[in-house]
């Protein structure tokens, strides 16, 4: 376990007409690793999964799984299981029928197939749903059915396309933990796709940030958060996003650079060097987000504790953490 399912994508390119969905993507996924692809909608995340699964072919580039180029290998010979964005459960089959589908196609004997399907259902806590049809189950249950179906494939790679996107917030939180636990238990290579930056931070050993078909940065989530490789990553990971000030401005002049500071690295300090007016305060319970405006027009977002005692219209002074200033090239947007 954990020694199969290594994936290497080499300069993968795929266009649909004039839309370049993937542009020269290189990505290496270690055997047994859980990696998260994150990026805005349309950035090419699903396309990467479809190429790895073999549902689509690249225009250029190689997909190497365990040392073998699989571009010409048909989907069912690739030992990958995919959980689709909206789960793609067969509507005319019961939950049990959905779980049995692949086993029956692969000619597993009925009794044996049923035994395995029940075991998978037990594992995901859907054993009492087996006689229902997919449209008689909730979103969270459907997600588990889709996962159980993937489990029965006994793949060397799991491809999960936004598996949490259609769940409501509390359920998403709980399911996130379940997914992680399942991955730890199975130790199977997993590529997880999301457009949600909070999911990207919490799920996965590493995160790859995509934008318009290109990989902008790959690394452990905390590292990508602490040292974003360019202004796109800086703006995408983190909520609210990093304050980016072209030319440095109130953060200290820096010709040819864009200076960035995260909202939590700006502190309210009566002796602080930056003068600003509070335009709005969003109390989130455990913290407060202040939207402030400096005399030169620069807007800065500040994350403070609950009940900071300032109101809209009041003046405040801010102190940036000097060790947490980010410097980006104004031309390329790359980190300097």
């Amino acid at each position: 376990m954990g020694n199969r399912g290594a994936i290497r994508l080499e300069s993968l390119t795929r266009s649909y007409g004039r839309v370049v969905a993937l542009d020269d993507v290189d990505l290496e996924v270690r055997a047994g690793e859980m990696i998260t692809l994150v990026g805005p909608s349309g950035s090419g995340k699903s396309t990467i999964l479809r190429l790895i699964a073999g549902l689509d072919r690249p225009d250029q580039g190689r997909i190497v799984v365990d040392g073998q180029d699989v571009v010409r290998v048909p989907p069912h010979r690739r030992a990958v299981a995919m959980v689709f964005q909206d789960y793609a459960l067969y509507p005319h089959l019961t939950v049990l029928g959905n779980l049995l589908f692949g086993l029956r196609v692969r000619r597993v004997r009925r009794a044996e197939a049923e035994r395995r399907a029940r075991a998978a259902a037990d594992r995901l806590g859907i054993a009492d749903l087996l006689d229902r049809y997919p449209d008689q189950t909730s979103g969270g249950q459907r997600q588990r059915i889709a996962l159980a179906r993937a489990l029965l494939r006994e793949p060397t790679v799991y491809l999960l396309d936004e598996p949490l996107a259609s769940l409501d917030a509390p359920l998403r939180f709980a399911t996130r933990a379940d997914l992680l636990a399942l991955h730890r238990e199975l130790g199977t290579t997993t590529i997880h796709v999301t457009h949600d930056q909070a999911e990207a931070m919490t799920l996965g050993d590493r995160v790859a940030v995509l934008d318009r078909g290109r990989v902008r940065q790959i690394g452990p989530p905390q590292q990508v958060y602490d040292e974003p490789a360019d202004t796109f990553v800086a703006g995408f990971l983190g909520s609210p996003p990093m304050n980016l000030v072209p030319g440095g401005g109130v953060l200290g002049g820096a010709a040819g650079l864009i200076l960035g500071v995260r909202p939590e690295d700006l502190a309210l300090d009566t002796d602080g060097p930056i003068e600003a007016t509070v335009e709005a305060a969003e109390a989130l319970g455990s913290e407060t987000i202040l939207l402030t405006r400096c005399p030169d027009g620069t807007r800065l977002t500040v994350r403070t504790g609950p009940r900071p005692g300032v109101r809209p219209g009041e003046g405040v002074r801010l102190r940036p953490d000097p060790g947490r200033l980010h410097r980006f090239d104004a031309e390329t947007g790359r980190r300097r």
């Binding site: 069912h76 793609a88 509507p91 005319h92 589908f101 196609v105």
Partner: protein, 293 residues
Amino acid sequence: MTSGRARPPLTAWAFLAPYAVAVGLLIVLPALLNLGYAFTDHTGLTRDPQFVGLANVRRMLSDGFLLDSVQASAIHLALAVPLRLLAAVGLGLLLAAPRPGGRWFRVAVYLPTVVPDVALAVIFLWVLNPLYGPLNQLLGLFGHPGFTWLSDPGTARVAVALMLVFPIGEGFLVVLAARRLLDGRLYEAAALEGCGPFGQLRRLTLPMLAPVLLLLAVRDTILTLQVNFVPAYVLTDGRPANATLYLPVYIFDQAFEFSSFAYGALITSVLMVVTAVVITALLLVVRRWRVLR
């Protein structure tokens, strides 16, 4: 809440009224009149039909032509409905996917449906002509001497069914539209599990289209038993040896050619019953096969 459910508001009845009136005047009333005429001596020509009790029923029970007619209809049903469904479903599924030139193929499949019944029959009189018709010439290419299509009972039955395989445009369109509504991701999920094109047809497409297919089968059964008789009437007029004397043809002959309007009315009711029996049998089979949830 409960009272709202029990009694629909007056406006609902008001909106239903025009339809109800039309159904009453054009369907229910004629059907009842038809049933009444079945027990008279009405010829369709005189004004005051007399009640004759079960005379027409007695005539029916000893009518050899009626037996021939029921047999012709039954064989026709068994031949034409499966062929028409197979053609509509096969072509609909083949042409549902976008492909170069697909539009022209779809138009070609629909086109015969637009041709008027009588014109279709006249075209087939030429197609089936034993001397110069293209069908026999085509068979000739394979060294077959060809058939005298319309003068042999067996081939005449086949010929009419063959002709009716062409006007299948509506069923074709329904299948096409229904297939296009199916989610492509289901097919990708199946492909990942190793399910090939035939497996996908058997395990996904046909079961998911089952309600539509059932609807088409019921509709085509009614159509084939009751409506599609015009081209057959023109093509063979019940001949040869009553092989194509389908019930509607026989009814038409009795009611409007042999001045036995009342007897025609009685057989019409019989046709109703036959249709109901066939459809009930169909639904029972379907229930047994569990193709519907």
